[in-house]
Amino acid sequence: MASVRVLVGTRKGAFVLSADGARASWNVAGPFFEGWEIYHVKASPVNPERIYASQSSGWFGQIIQRSDDGGATWAPVGNEFTYDGVPGTHQWYDGTPHPWEFARVWHLEPSLRDPDTVFAGVEDAALFKSLDGGENWSELSGLRGHGSGPLWQPGAGGMCLHTIVESPRDPDRLFVAISAAGAFRTDDAGVSWKPINRGLRSGGIPDEDAEVGHCVHRIALHPSNPDVLYMQKHWDVMRSLDAGESWHEVSGDLPTDFGFVIDVHAHEPETVYVVPITSDSVHFPPEGKLRVYRSRTGGNEWEPLSRGLPQSHCYVDVLRDAMAVDSLDECGVYFGTTGGQVYASRDAGDSWEAIVHDLPAVLSVEVQTLA
């Protein structure tokens, strides 16, 4: 029987939640790395027993952990992230040049094709790659070096490369997103990059439709159609039909189009999920009601999904890496909150239940569907 494993990164450790295919009863393992911030935990799609975790601390720096037994045991691997060459400068909050400084790994993206290959998105924004299971890391410096790097500026959470999406069709194509620089694409395995932000409009920058400078929060795609991208931007939910060459807004009838997460149903490429958050200054759901919104039409027409979610006095946030889907026949949808809940839906979002209530603030949620 199939089973699922939910990998949860929190402010104070990692947790592994597991259940059989019924998804009715959950085993909670953890905390792993207690007291450390776990920005992201993600498993190799090629070898599901191999899981990578980003463990960091403002005091003690960055550690990368790896498990080769499905999260039961862990061992530290390489934590040397050195920018290629002379790092140069980017824009600081006040517009002055600021040297590139490594702070932490926000996102780990194990390759779709090789269990030893894994990408790391870091703050200050850069993309690193390991070919040996995380032991050694080298920067794909064509991203920072393509020309616009000196113009990038941090968002409120820092200047982080937080989203890495590998094309399931083309092994040389990667999409990344950076706050607050925008989205970028490579078609030659990371050697050269180009901004893919045409159609984005951001009120918070001097030139609303600039080539770079947009605070992209998350990008998602469906494997069956990797040219169709969905984006939750700072404000606005966007869609691209041409692999990011152009974007159009699909916020439609959402109550607010600010938010962090976006994800796509495992079996329905046009079914998309977001969690609207009130605004950039009010990071909790509108009216204190936690609602996931689902579009079955690739955006524009959205329905609120609230059954089982708190509908009063709820003031949590759902951060950018904190939503995922499983690929069981009835698609499961999962998200975590800054209040420490992880909610699961066994019916594609129609109803929800908290599978854990009181974890530390959740930073990331990933799901494995195991045979």
Binding site: W59, F60, E80
Partner: protein, 98 residues
């Protein structure tokens, strides 16, 4: 034998709680102590001081003999009671919060 106490986060990281003991070549300096510590526990590289510059991380402190040694030169000799093993050398995560 030098006696070293790590903060809880780093003890967890190396999987060993309580006091550590290290053999450090003379003259026993902060730099040599940290070199020995990192050689014994390579996972600590980068967690106490920068991997390349060996600068102490901003929120790390070194205490011994009721003194803050954080701002001492890494090449100054550690206090005699630490070298004799009478006193512990503490690596501390700086107090923060509110």
């Amino acid at each position: 034998m030098i006696r070293v106490v790590l903060p809880a986060h780093l003890s967890l990281l190396i999987g060993r709680h309580g006091e550590l003991t290290l053999i450090v070549d003379e003259p026993v300096t902060q730099r040599r102590l940290l070199d020995s510590l990192e050689e014994a526990y390579p996972v600590l590289r980068g967690t106490i001081r920068d991997r390349v510059t060996h600068q102490r991380r901003p929120f790390i402190r070194f205490f011994a003999c009721e003194e803050d040694l954080s701002h001492d030169s890494p090449d100054s000799v550690l206090p005699e009671p630490v070298i004799r093993g009478d006193e512990q050398f503490f690596v501390v995560g700086a107090m923060a919060g509110g």
